[in-house]
Symmetry: C2
Amino acid sequence: MSLSERKKEILRAVVELYVKGAEPVGSRAVVEKLESSVSSATIRSEMADLESMGLLEQPHTSAGRIPSSNGYRIYVNELMQNQHISGDDAKVIDSELDGHLATPTNLLDKVGKLTSRLTTYPAYAMASATGIVCIARFDLIYVDYSTFIIVTLLSNDTVKNKLVHLTTSVEPPMLTKLSAVLNASFTGIPEERITPALIAATERAVGDTAGIVAIIAGFTIELLVEAKTVGTHISGAVNLLSHPEFKDVDKAQRIIRYLTDEKELAKLPSPNSPGELKITIGPENLANELRDSSVMAIKYDAGNDIQGLIGVVGPTRMDYSKVAAHLSYMAQGLSWLLGGLNSDLLQLNPSTKNTLGDEHFGEE
Amino acid sequence: MSLSERKKEILRAVVELYVKGAEPVGSRAVVEKLESSVSSATIRSEMADLESMGLLEQPHTSAGRIPSSNGYRIYVNELMQNQHISGDDAKVIDSELDGHLATPTNLLDKVGKLTSRLTTYPAYAMASATGIVCIARFDLIYVDYSTFIIVTLLSNDTVKNKLVHLTTSVEPPMLTKLSAVLNASFTGIPEERITPALIAATERAVGDTAGIVAIIAGFTIELLVEAKTVGTHISGAVNLLSHPEFKDVDKAQRIIRYLTDEKELAKLPSPNSPGELKITIGPENLANELRDSSVMAIKYDAGNDIQGLIGVVGPTRMDYSKVAAHLSYMAQGLSWLLGGLNSDLLQLNPSTKNTLGDEHFGEE
DNA sequence: CGTTAGCACTCTCGAGTGCCGAGTGCTAAT
DNA sequence: ATTAGCACTCGGCACTCGAGAGTGCTAACG
């Protein structure tokens, strides 16, 4: 069932006019747009064909046509032409991303806000660890007789710490001994292997009766679990309200509520590999709430075994081409910034690599 | 211009009926509500008086009355009776707050979400440091020839760290020396006193030519500035949409955009002292966007020289009494949890006080 | 004098109606 | 295959009208 060239042109015209104007597109409008020499009657019969093929639909008998979700699908797969983002937008993105490299969490947030602002649709940004994270190194810092600090270096080059107040007292030699043992037995292993048995054995080895090892182990497990965790964040949900399909407050509310629920957000479509752009149109979405919305998402490599994701949610009448351009540009910029460039970064900014323990991907 | 008892009762009735029903209140409805033996005609003339006093208004000639902002003000100041929150809500709050003590950032977030959910209005939560924060202690941990970790304990009992990669190399003895000097000269002083002169002097004292001191100083300043920073967060903005005064999408959008802007949010009314509940009604708000909305906010003591704030934004037809009850309960719970109880906490949870370096008030 | 019943009046809201225009599908001619 | 012409459909808009809610005023009453 391949489409004639002319039908393709017409479908493209309908999609683009509808995306732009949010109103059913009539045959006249198509004629004008195509600047073709055929008359509106011809277009009408072509459009009737397209409708019977399930690519267009009529809201009511005497209205123009709008694309069906299949129509959008064809458009996205075959007809959409690569658009480049405007120079202005590129400048905005470059400068926003370039500013401070900031911290991963802030970056995630910033990327979401920026995408949302530029596309005028809500955007979500996530990051997730690939591969396993383990502890690379422990240090215990004695503060006073009942207080010490745990400092851990993770295998993905972030540092985490915790201040511990004890009800019992602890001496520096004990901490030294403890840290030696921890470095020997808790490092380099995944979270699942920090078992009660291991904890008990370690307690015996250092003669800990105050439960200090248990505290440290608990903290360690928490860290490692957290490091694997997926962080999700939505920005600019309010943007939905400016699109006519959401002029009905209840409808808007339902979908915004849906998008604000982190659990649901995590289930949104996600591309398989970095660089891939995934587009999910209307009923292709698993979630009922998104039955007449579309989702576009792209993955990027954020370095340190972390993959980032930026996505956009909008009505099916979304400007797929523009959003695709934005997402690609953004993902490319981020990969460049975070992924390939880790080592070079150190040269640009000769002394520090920002792995401030207090920010990390995976935090809400 | 004191009101007769009966006028007060009528004003109260009008406010409460209007809050409940969102429709102008007629004299009949007031009669029913008051179960008073006077007739609707009497109420009518009383209401006419109240209108001429500027406490009620009529949307149009033949409608009932709605409270004016002055009317709400009188209601809030004099007529509102202390309401207790429902047992169910109390249970929800208790259990949510009790769960894990979690981390300050998460707690802030959770408090906002919870308040928003229970009140059905958008809520904002902030925290700000009172008093000055300084560094209490430095530790430098040697990792390898070009890498070390800075660990700092702040005067407010939080720990921060940073992993530093150098392009030059560094030896453990140098780090030891450095940390001794830092502990001598950089601790106990506010951020303003970490001057270029101090940095230069320290560099000379330890013979640092690689700019290590400068890195550490930069990090320290960043930390201290950040520790003073006010963090703000809004939750449940979407809740606005369920109230009839925001059935107009544009209006809703304007105010949500306003509330989503952190700079604006920081300017929202704030009570002066912990425990105080501040109510700002309609035109009392400085911001134009809030001219027909009301804001209620309460402060609480979050311990460690930190003050927290929870606030709620809604239409002027807000359920002041219910929200007041919720905010008070919440603030009380939080003060109890974070403020007064710091030391007792250690007994409940005998060994740890959660000051995970990677979470802190003041982060967005 | 405060209160009240009665009444005329005002104004909103929703239902009902008719018209306009955009757009279609069909047919017959090219 | 394309096109002009035409009858037809249907949503949207303006308009009207009546119902209903609520008011203010007045005159009567205790």
